[in-house]
């Protein structure tokens, strides 16, 4: 599995790991009680493997890290945010298939 390529972001590390990163970063906002989030997990793992070297990928547990989702106005999960140069360039809410996510990401990395 590709899960060793997935980082874990927290409220404390988000600014340094995501917003100051030099490569694009895909962030998966999720929680234990969210069934669609769990379903999206393998897709995010696969994306991390396919875009290795071009984009980094990490997850943020909204239950344990409430400040970051609030800062970005996230009120529904799963949400994927793609950061590039500290800016959000894509925001995808809900369950989306891998092929469509690849198309969205390809535009930026």
């Amino acid at each position: 599995m590709a899960s060793d390529k997935i980082q874990t972001f927290t409220d404390a590390t988000f600014a340094d790991s995501v917003e100051k990163a030099t490569t694009p970063v895909l962030v998966d906002f999720w929680a234990e009680w969210c069934a669609p989030c769990k379903r999206l997990g393998p897709t995010v793992d696969a994306l991390a493997a396919e875009f290795q070297g071009r984009m980094s990928v990490g997850k943020l547990n909204v239950d344990e890290n409430p400040m970051t989702p609030t800062r970005f106005g996230i009120r529904g999960i799963p949400t994927l945010l793609l950061f590039k140069g500290g800016q959000i360039v894509e925001s995808v809410v809900g369950l989306v298939g891998k092929d469509e996510l690849k198309r969205i990401i390809e535009k930026h990395v």
């Binding site: 929680a31 009680w33 069934a35 379903r39 529904g76 369950l95």
Partner: protein, 309 residues
């Protein structure tokens, strides 16, 4: 060329997994292509109190986990992919996923139904910004907020009750003067001090798109015609479901609303293609009826495969 499978099942809710269980026990070695919404609608529910055999109720995801394990125990193979296209007219039938092409002699369609939306542009823009179709996913974000739920069926009432765990107030908005939900659910809603009902009311607009958040709803009273506003921080949409059949458009008989038409059990208009669960059921739409029709589809598929020999 690879040998075709005996049966492929598309969908992994109660219908698909029950079909898988029966097909597996019939030594058909079924492949279940789970689809995007793996486990189906029950994955988004909480306690299920009307599935026989669980006197104290069972959590939706737990029930689906059990069904999956039971099907796998008898040899069903589950694939966490979604079907991207099918060719129902070729023999064997061709089923394409993002990864590869699969061939099968019989196909069981159990793709279910997905939440329907009101169809307002503002609703789509604010999805994930206060508009949601999944209370168990997104209720958490609205602690001590005022929330609205639109709909009148079991799902709407269940979501309203669930959301009272987080919200300070839940307004249940329904376009008719009585709920469609079961009496047990209705009584629970009426007894909940946090739930207020707005009868004969339509949601006409979700504000505020410019701010990128939900701040209020524009409502219209169907009887008086009067417009009003309701300040809320979230809108949960639970106005029913639409069948997931776009994949099969033009290849199989559907009714005007996109439900697959079945005759003589679970047979569709295409020989060797069977349909079960919510994708062909506009009347009952229960976990138990979906499971029952899944069993029927597996038996019908087995008879069909026998007839080919």
């Amino acid at each position: 060329m690879t040998e075709p499978r005996e049966v492929i099942i598309v969908g992994s809710g109660p219908a698909g997994l029950t079909a898988a269980l029966y097909a597996a026990r019939g030594s058909l070695r079924p492949l279940v292509i789970e689809g995007l919404e793996s486990g189906g609608q029950l994955m988004l529910t909480t306690a299920i109190e009307n599935f026989p055999g669980f006197r104290d109720g069972i959590m939706g995801p737990e029930l689906m986990g059990e069904m999956q394990a039971q099907a796998e125990r008898f040899g069903a193979e589950l694939l966490q992919e979604e079907v991207t296209s099918v060719d129902l007219r070729s023999q064997p039938i061709r089923v394409r996923t993002s990864g590869q092409e699969h061939l099968t002699r019989a196909l069981i369609i159990a793709t279910g139904a997905s939440a329907r939306l009101l169809g307002l542009p503002s609703e789509r823009t604010l999805m994930g910004r206060g508009v949601s179709t999944c209370a168990t996913c997104d209720g958490y974000f609205f602690r001590d907020c005022e929330i609205a739920v639109v709909g009148g069926g079991d799902t709407a009432v269940e979501e309203a009750i669930y959301l009272t765990k987080f919200a300070s107030k839940v307004t249940l908005i329904h376009r008719r003067d009585q709920l469609r939900a079961s009496k047990v659910m209705q009584e629970k809603a009426f007894a909940n001090p946090k739930i207020t009902l707005r009868w004969n009311t339509l949601v006409e607009e979700v504000k505020d798109v410019d701010k990128g958040e939900v701040s209020r709803l524009v409502l219209r009273d169907k009887v008086t015609g009067e417009a009003s506003e309701l300040p809320v921080q979230a809108l949960f949409v639970a106005i029913g479901h639409t069948p997931n059949t776009s994949l099969f458009a033009g290849q199989i008989e559907m009714d005007g609303d996109g439900y697959l038409v079945t005759r003589g059990g679970t047979k569709t208009s295409v020989p060797g293609v069977f349909a079960c669960g919510d994708v062909q059921d506009r009347v009952y739409r229960q976990a138990i009826t979906a499971a029952g029709s899944g069993c029927m589809a597996a038996i019908d598929a087995e008879h069909y495969l026998e007839s080919l020999k």
